[in-house]
Symmetry: C2
Subunit: 652 residues, 2 copies
Amino acid sequence: MQFDIIKKTEFDKVLNSNLSQKQKSELFAAMCRYNCFVSVKKAGSGHLGSSFSAMDIVVYLYLNELNILELGTESPDRDIYFSSKGHDVPGLYAVFYALGFIDEKQLMSLRRIDGPDGHPDLKTKGIESNTGSLGMGISKGKGFAWAKKYSGSEGRVFVLTGDGEFQEGQIYESMQSTSHQKITNITVIVDRNKFQTDRLVDSINNIEDLSAKGLAFGWNVQRINGNNFDEIQNAIRSSKLITDKPKLIIADTVKGAGISFLESGNKDEHGELLYKWHSGAPDDEHFETGVNELKSRINKTSQSLGLGDIKFSFYEEFNKQSPLSYREYITDAFGDELCNLADERSDLVVMDADLSADCKLRKFEFKYPERFIENGIAEQDMVSMAGGLARCGLIPVVSSFASFLTSRANEQIYNNACEHTKIIYATHFAGMIPAGPGKSHQSVRDISLLGAIPNMTVIQPCNSLEMRLAVRYAVNDATENVALRMVIGPSPRKIELPENYSFKFGEGTVLTSGNDALVFAYGPVILHEILSAQEILSQNGFSLKVVNMPWLNKIESNWLIEVCSGINDIFVLEDHSNFGGLGDRILYELVRNGIKFDRFEKIGLDDYPACGVPHEVLKYHRLDSHSLCERITSKTIDKTESNHIYSVEAPQ
Amino acid sequence: MQFDIIKKTEFDKVLNSNLSQKQKSELFAAMCRYNCFVSVKKAGSGHLGSSFSAMDIVVYLYLNELNILELGTESPDRDIYFSSKGHDVPGLYAVFYALGFIDEKQLMSLRRIDGPDGHPDLKTKGIESNTGSLGMGISKGKGFAWAKKYSGSEGRVFVLTGDGEFQEGQIYESMQSTSHQKITNITVIVDRNKFQTDRLVDSINNIEDLSAKGLAFGWNVQRINGNNFDEIQNAIRSSKLITDKPKLIIADTVKGAGISFLESGNKDEHGELLYKWHSGAPDDEHFETGVNELKSRINKTSQSLGLGDIKFSFYEEFNKQSPLSYREYITDAFGDELCNLADERSDLVVMDADLSADCKLRKFEFKYPERFIENGIAEQDMVSMAGGLARCGLIPVVSSFASFLTSRANEQIYNNACEHTKIIYATHFAGMIPAGPGKSHQSVRDISLLGAIPNMTVIQPCNSLEMRLAVRYAVNDATENVALRMVIGPSPRKIELPENYSFKFGEGTVLTSGNDALVFAYGPVILHEILSAQEILSQNGFSLKVVNMPWLNKIESNWLIEVCSGINDIFVLEDHSNFGGLGDRILYELVRNGIKFDRFEKIGLDDYPACGVPHEVLKYHRLDSHSLCERITSKTIDKTESNHIYSVEAPQ
């Protein structure tokens, strides 16, 4: 198979034609959908459903409303457009390519280290705001609008939001304050495509009646078909006439609009609608079907408009996907063990913030519907609700991505903890891998964010067995709150633990013996790297002691003393910032216990996590096995490529 | 003067009388207001306005609705009542005393280490939920209600909220999910007393039309006069009949209802209404006036109802307040220097979350109204708005209390920071003192919460001069984000810096020379303690080197090497958790730079900060000067009391 793309010259042909604005927009949007579709397939992941539902609105704005093509992307008088949900950015990149903001190589390097990020980042020309965690967009837009007025700059502000996003409280904070502060130079368009991650918004946490909410918060409200250019045009034009209120346009759209199979949900085994194209790339078969449908639609339109065929140019060959061999997902064990525990005790309750499938909670959801609380994208509410549950003697397991849960709901976690109840926080997508979604999703601050809560134990299991033991410990044995830190993707290798392994509080496990240096690490991603490094080093006569340390903030002194005995060089490898992770804890325990060493180093992140495929991101941060060899030995190591077996990226 | 209280026997007299429920409630509420007023005066701080506006509702619930008197405070079938705003708890304690939950000594030990906290904590009998940071209550109540249904327990759930609280997004998150999840066994009563910290809610960030909002979120809505027992009764009774929706009762009340001078606002110099009794105790004159008015009102009512006089019993003498001698408030310098900088540059913008007076922003607010953005209690919205402002080239100074700003808006701060703009976060009320408000307000996690953001400098100035230099550095020189960490109360001593002091990046200042041990510390509270310790130790022949280190996460290696030269024992004293503060940074720098030492210790908090007056809280945590002497020398020191000169507590 091959990737064909539509080159910029073809878009120019459309723009320079004599077609009406509406005709140009329609054709342009279809062509952008095509390039977006190809770029996501090439990236291996990306959010097609949302990119496609919003495409007509985005194209309408860039071709007909925004003054950016005229003034450029740096003028203080430019119109501002950005998407608050952010994950529709593959669609935006396709538009940016068509408009000449980014080149062909960038378009086709989506989610790669030298390409545009999986969520918007200012490094890409045309991006106005970094987004990716939901709910911040109206507030940021309000800032742009206020600054324009204060500075006397021209230009309007348009913010696109998702519909699931209206479950985040910040949306209402910003709706209220925007109206109160009389910031009227802002138009918010809700891409009301009906589905959030994979279920209907109405079913997860209904946001309707959105019009009534908009009106109650003092906004001018219109509701339109957001895949109809006439209606988009009318709405934007009438919103211009409103000068005394901020403006809300609720645009009913079809998720995946533009390719038939992307446009519909499938019923799950319980008859509820599931949408399977929220994130992730299509398989080869669907890709071919989608490409053919888009090509045919584009040319049909183009021909009917008298423009002839649109040219699809060869970009590169690609190999058909081979099915993945078996991999261990630690989170499978998490979801499964929760079910086992629920069989044993009725006080276990699971809470989800619209990530049930990603966090492997579906089994629990179906098996124990009466104990599964779907809370939607409202992490603060979810966490505080867990506080109430725990006060009534239940054991809530609160699940979401680590970056959202530990940060957005940080104060709520603290508030619960100070009641001295027990709550288990299941923090998924911890660490820097998968790195495609970008820094809004990669969680490298979460250990630090929980560390100063006095009664909070943070554990990261290295494999499925340890995962099961950790969940059991958290539910049955722990006397304080527990955060379970989990890698979301497949483990690059199955970490082997000793036979009859027992999970002892504050104690790790020696995985390889050695005395030239000692490395503490945790979780399968960096354990894989350091074990690969150990293998390379052992061939070079350097014996490295690798210790799996799942207890990230609890360390038994006697165990530490024993494990460090006879070692001079000690390293802590972090799948986290160098600040506030395991390293700070280990170092203080070493010093407190009078353990002598010559060298101590934390090897983690000092910068934002890069976006890319795993091996390039690990290499970028010098956390891949070869770099680790060099950092540990302070020598250059032969650069035979290590065998990185990553490929599946986690969605949101 | 003296404190007289109304003893429980007098409340029993009312309860056991033949009066109607309404008559009992009215008299009981007036009597509770009296005891509340006295307890707050004795504590020296507390929230009278809110305690009084809510009193009629609270008394109505406990006397007429809740089954707690019957079932006790531990029964799973009990009705649940708690206040989400939490700062009205002095009123609740007065009710608890009247009902026999707490004794006279506890009532009169408000905000003391052995008494009830300034915000609700489960340690006090009858308290159902720890609250104090706003917006969490409905979510927590929803948890109680869900658990009751799941467990098959009886009992209803009542949550009281403030009106300013409806600026927090979590309120709307929880309104939406409660309705969606069909949790109907919950009644939320909004104490709509019109004023938030010291201004009208309508003027800070208008929340109306609240009824329309409630309806739009799918709740049953009633609006009543919340200081009228007939209306309260009718509303609660009709809400019982609603079984298909959660129930919202908007109770219009008068802030401070019950004492004339507490009931009204005063116009400020710009003609805007200010309310001066949100927090803080009345001065002696107002106390006397208030006591007389309440006594007379209580007895008039009691007599008219045929119960004769209510007895006011002597509790203890107290000395009239003497005016405070001059004290340095570091935050005065902060507010003043901001104005100076604003004179110099037009790109400086200040944002506030309803704490302008406490954070010393009034001067700026009046001088530069066009550059002062009042955002209400909506920290996330404020921070993200700052992101938009910064993207337009402005320099926003975002101000609130450290515990709220760095925690509630943590993800928003991260999101802004990853855009590589510059924003200054003014984090007030940092550290454990004043300790009266309790652990929701004492900020001992904030350094750790910002530490893993790569481009964030955290600075805590020790005196007014350093404060001014730090603000100037942040605004004029810093190339990355800056968090200014500030003690909110008066400095216990003015920390003296060298003449011609210059503020150098990453370098602290040696305040006292010595070579028996070295202590790094920051901020006036703990510097006062360690300097006092140094004075005691020097009399015992122990020479302590005390270093003021305002750069909490940036340390210049060469300076550190020099300052540690010849020292064996190194301590870092933290006004913060032992985790994630200055100590972790210093230790790693010591090790990284090969600086040798025999002993290293972090001296900070390993537990939640205690509530009490400063000296007892410092002593409790062994952070007072005498304890510090012992911890540093590992010897017992003569216990002559050090001269702690704290008294003013910060409100919220």
